[in-house]
């Protein structure tokens, strides 16, 4: 206490407070910079941790798997039969597979999802145990790449046949054969917990398998683990699969690591995995090609997708089966739900991770940066508390109108897409609409002399609104930073230019004050260089690059699809709530877009001219 008091007195004596207030924009930017550098530091040696099995009961790769040569024949047999029925409709294929499963003594049932093809599932009741817990094996008819999952389904059926012969199971095993890993699977999972008649207890873990070729061999396997709304499977499950693959001597890949770099562990590979992981976690559910594991999110189920990569290579299909078998054996050992290891982590490589305590400061720093710059907007421009109290009504009205407008958009736009036959072009139309809106705000914020004087807001009100919007973003980040770190970080980073607006205004106004009025030249360059105009242009640019829809274009075209990425993302945003209960759309439109709109409105209607506060600042 005494030390704090001494420090406070010192601060007071030296007059640091006013000095610090002037530096708020810089401090805020430094916080944002620190946030990014924090992430960049994580892949360095000594900052991350090696993965380990935390739950000893799992005992991965301890049991010998007998899914070997003789089972290979069964896989081949099923595969040949499945290849023969590739052209048939899914209900017919289901019927044939159902015949096989029934022949092996499994109970089969259908989930009618009212979206076309029904989902076949089969339950193998545990010979031991209490019949209250289950493990799910899912093999979608088509893989996330769109190919016929012939290898996956053949392996799955052969595995069930093989499981049925063993008496060691203490958890029920469910095989699900949805049409794909998207809506069909999600609706099955939902129905399992709400309306299905044939169930087999609470699902502890789920594996989605993809083996999209008819080849006997594959190169390495990839695990996809991102769940919806920032959820991740327990790290123990990931480690189990990794360790099993290690004992089988198969290459293990996450975040799209290629064959050549499977064994590579350098700073750059770790950083790439980290950044890709953040991006993928933020975009879960928005792409049409979903791997399927995210369908299990929200029901306390640990789910991953295991995908065989390559059509020839050192590994054979029974090894793929053995990974599944061994993982099931491990999960079968569990006496409690997965709880030991981490639920919040970022992977740096299959064997390295950072846990929440280590990476969280990155998001916290970012949230603090927004709070600071929000405060800076008010303090630097000397907005009085009295003024805020007086115009609270005005501020709140504008803000509530923006928020209500966004709420309306958030609710109605998905309906247009879902209700139309040609959802692609409706989504495109909506995207273009928002793009036009973004550019209109950009142009209007530069050319705000077009707005009649009587609609202008005064400067204090403008900065109050900007401060409110920035504060809203910081609250959004705070709310998200645990639940969905990736999304919080991405939004925080993308919207960062919004915090530059206030310092831009102040510095260029101060600069204008110090310059003697020069003769105006007519050519374009000097027009742009002229501080009054360049200030406006910079503000407009800040607004443009922090718009959610600008970012959709950037992310979509760079990381999703070269030509149609933005459209895919937009459609994903609009439909993902109804199809998968992914709330990214609401966060983007109610949090980010509403804050952006508030800033845009204040840039268009606001006043950024030189005022007495800045003249006073100049004199000082």
């Amino acid at each position: 206490m005494a030390l704090a008091e001494t420090v406070l007195r010192k601060v007071h004596k030296l007059g640091l407070v006013p000095k610090l207030i002037k530096l708020i924009p810089l401090i805020s930017f430094l916080f944002a910079l620190a946030s990014v550098s924090w992430l960049l530091v994580l892949p360095m040696d000594g900052f991350y941790r090696d993965t380990y099995i935390s739950e000893n009961a799992l005992m991965p790769a301890q049991a010998t798997s007998y899914f070997r040569e003789s089972e290979w024949n069964h896989v081949r047999g099923f595969r040949t039969a499945l290849q023969g029925i590739e052209d048939k409709a899914i209900p017919e294929r289901n019927q044939i597979v159902e015949g096989w499963l029934q022949q092996y003594g499994l109970k089969t049932a259908y989930h009618k999802n009212n979206r076309g093809d029904d989902t076949l599932y089969a339950i193998m009741h545990a010979p031991r145990g209490e019949d209250t817990e289950a493990i799910v094996l899912t093999a979608p008819w088509s893989t996330s790449e769109g190919s016929y999952n012939v290898g996956g389904i053949a392996t799955a059926v052969a595995l069930l046949r093989y499981f049925k012969k063993m008496s060691i199971w203490s958890k029920n095993i469910i095989l699900v054969l949805p049409e794909d890993g998207h809506v069909a699977l999600r609706s099955w999972v939902e129905a399992y917990h709400t309306s299905l008649d044939e169930t087999a207890g609470s699902i502890e873990a789920a594996l989605v398998i993809e083996y999209g070729s008819a080849s006997d061999h594959f190169d390495f396997y990839e695990v996809v683990y991102e769940g919806l709304n920032g959820q991740l499977p327990n790290l123990d499950l990931m480690n189990t699969i990794n360790l099993i693959g290690y004992h089988e001597n198969i290459g293990y890949s996450i975040q799209g690591t290629t064959r050549d770099e499977l064994q590579k562990r350098t700073y750059s590979t770790r950083l790439r995995t980290l950044l890709k992981g953040i991006l993928n976690l933020a975009l879960v559910g928005l792409k049409k090609k979903t791997p399927g594991n995210e369908a299990f999110s929200g029901w306390q189920i640990q789910a991953v997708t295991v995908r065989a990569k390559g059509v020839d290579g050192p590994s054979d299909v029974t090894q793929f089966g053995r990974i599944i078998d061994s993982t099931f054996r491990s999960v079968n050992n569990l006496l409690e739900k997965f709880h030991q290891s981490f639920f919040f982590y970022l992977m740096l490589s299959p064997d390295n991770f950072v846990s929440i305590g280590t990476y969280l400061p990155a998001a916290v720093l970012l949230a603090v940066a927004y709070v600071l710059s929000s405060l800076g907007c008010l303090v630097i421009n000397e907005v009085q508390a009295k003024f805020i109290a007086q115009s609270a009504y005005k501020i709140l009205t504008i803000f509530i109108f923006v928020e209500l407008g966004c709420l309306m958009l958030a609710k109605t736009l998905p309906l247009f897409v879902l209700g139309s036959d040609d959802d692609e072009s409706v989504a495109a139309l909506i995207l273009y609409g928002f793009t036009v809106l973004t550019f209109a705000s950009f142009v209007l914020s530069i050319k705000n002399q077009w707005i009649p004087k009587k609609y202008r807001m005064d400067k204090s009100l403008t900065f109050c609104l900007i401060a409110l919007a920035l504060f809203l973003i910081s609250l959004l980040l705070t709310a998200l930073l645990i639940v969905n770190f990736a999304l919080a970080f991405l939004i925080g980073l993308a919207a960062l230019p919004l915090t530059f607006i206030q310092p831009l205004v102040t510095t260029s106004n101060l600069k204008l004050l110090s310059e003697s009025p020069k003769e105006k030249r007519k050519d374009l360059l000097s027009y742009l260089v002229n501080d009054g105009n360049s200030k406006r242009l910079k503000i407009g640019l800040c607004l443009l690059v922090s718009s959610p829809f600008f970012i959709i274009y950037i992310i979509g075209n760079l990381f999703v699809d070269e030509s149609k990425g933005a459209l895919i993302l937009m459609k994903g945003l609009l439909t993902s709530w109804d199809e998968l209960q992914c709330w990214t759309w609401f966060i983007v439109i109610l949090g980010w877009f509403s804050a952006w709109s508030t800033v845009a409105l204040s840039c268009i209607f606001g006043d950024f001219e030189i005022d007495s506060v800045e003249s006073k600042m100049k004199k000082e």
Binding site: H12, Q300, K337, F343, L475, T478, A479, I482, V483
Partner: protein, 429 residues
């Protein structure tokens, strides 16, 4: 006056229209841990109505923890009002109670400023009536509490009535009767009798009346209500359900308070010891706070102390140590703080920090609870961290208020000029 009625109108409309349009909302809010505890939940009150309807003892099954008289009175609405109107009548009742509380706060505020002006010899100017009403009616914590139809609203009502009777109406007897009712409704308010008596003494200066008649009346009214409840229910079961559940912390359920985590983690044979400790802890700071803020004539005939602040500080302390902590306790204490605008409040330094911390706490608490209970990827430590922040907020407010009080007292006793009063910085030696 016009402003006050306008504010009241908007506040009333919020409380009346929202639950009327969404009749499920109070029940849904009654299940939210931040808003209602087993002790104050409207859902369990409703359960009691159901029991009564079917001639079952309302204290069977351990769901209902509301005192019998409250159940009976509320049951009249349930029994005699036809179904479609029933909810509207409940909404109207809760709205009405909140409006009355807001008005009581206005009366208390007027008294406080008048009283302090007289004692200090210099005019003390507080907030306008309309602002005091807004601070209560638009306090989000209070709005949420009201929308959840938490029965703590009634305890708050009777407690403010205690203060109004004491301070505005100058009627100690009626005030003590109200205090008895408050304690009957929510037993932890019993601790507040100490600062309230100190307050009574500071305005009446009649030791016999205050220290003898006051407590006797209080005990008598409380005992009367208990006996009346006994005659109504013909058993002592309600004592166990309404009071022992609170004192011995028998319903361990996660909430914003600091108790639940420790008691879930603990071996059973330690429980009696720690229940005792926690109860002593709830109580033991009441007396020092009251003593420190006790009003007396200092040297140079200066009036020192602020017993009303003692009441507020003790209310905050009780909110801090409440085993079944909800937003309503802090919300009520926060609505009382603006009354000190003319004296202590200008010296508070951490209001912004407290506000931000509270905001973050309120934002994260439902999220962490969701992570723990629904998603399963968080655990109880997540939610308990919010309980800790909740505690820190109380500590900060208390600290800030008391320090501000010391500053205020220093300025008064040392005749610091108003110009330098703003920049004065005290240090603890």
């Amino acid at each position: 006056m016009k402003d006050v009625s306008r504010v009241c109108l908007i506040g009333a409309l919020i409380r009346l229209i929202i639950p009327t349009v969404l009749p499920d909302l109070p029940f849904w809010f009654s299940s939210v841990v931040e808003l209602s505890s087993p002790i104050t939940s409207f859902k369990s009150l409703y359960e009691a109505f159901f029991y009564l309807e079917h001639d079952i003892n309302p204290y069977d099954g351990g769901i209902n923890h509301h005192p019998p008289l409250l159940v009976m009175v509320m049951n009249m609405i349930y029994e005699y009002v036809p179904v479609p109107l029933r909810f509207i009548v409940f909404n109207a009742l809760y709205t009405f109670v909140d409006l009355v509380i807001a008005w009581q706060l206005v009366l208390i505020n007027r008294w406080y400023n008048e009283y302090k002006t007289k004692k200090n010899g210099a005019p003390v100017k507080g907030f306008d009536d309309s602002l005091i009403v807004s601070f209560y009616l638009f306090n989000p914590l209070i709005i949420l509490t009201n929308l959840s139809h938490s029965t703590s609203v009634f305890s708050i009502f009777f407690f403010t009535e205690t203060l109004v009777q004491l301070l505005v109406k100058k009627n100690l007897a009626r005030s003590m009767l109200c205090m008895g009712v408050t304690t009957y409704l929510s037993v932890r308010y019993v601790y507040l009798i100490i600062p309230v008596l100190a307050l009574a003494y500071s305005i009446q200066r009649e030791p016999k009346a205050v220290y003898f008649q006051g407590p006797s009346l209080f005990v008598a009214s409380f005992a009367f209500l208990i006996l009346a409840s006994f005659t109504l229910t013909a058993s002592w079961e309600f004592i166990e359900s309404c009071y022992f559940v609170v004192i011995f912390y028998k319903k361990i359920k996660p909430n914003l308070g600091l108790w639940w985590y420790i008691f879930t983690e603990m071996f059973d044979f330690f429980t009696p010891f720690y229940t005792g400790m926690f109860n002593i802890y709830s109580f033991c700071f009441i007396i020092p706070i009251t003593l420190r803020l006790f009003e007396y004539q200092g040297s140079g005939k200066k009036h020192i102390g602020d017993c009303f602040l003692a009441v507020v500080a003790c209310a905050l302390w009780l909110s801090f140590t409440n085993p079944y902590s909800t937003l309503s306790d802090l919300g009520f204490a926060l609505s009382l703080i603006p009354i000190f605008k003319g004296t202590v409040l200008p010296h508070c330094k951490y209001l912004l920090i407290i506000g931000l911390t509270l905001l973050v706490c309120l934002l994260l608490s439902p999220i962490f609870y969701y992570c723990w209970i629904v998603l399963g990827n968080g655990n109880s430590n997540f939610f308990y961290s919010i309980s800790l922040i909740w505690g820190i907020i109380h500590g900060l407010i208390l600290n800030d208020l008391l320090w501000a009080f010391l500053t205020h007292d220093y300025i008064k006793t040392n005749d610091v000029k108003p110009e330098s009063a703003a920049s004065i910085r005290l240090t603890q030696i």
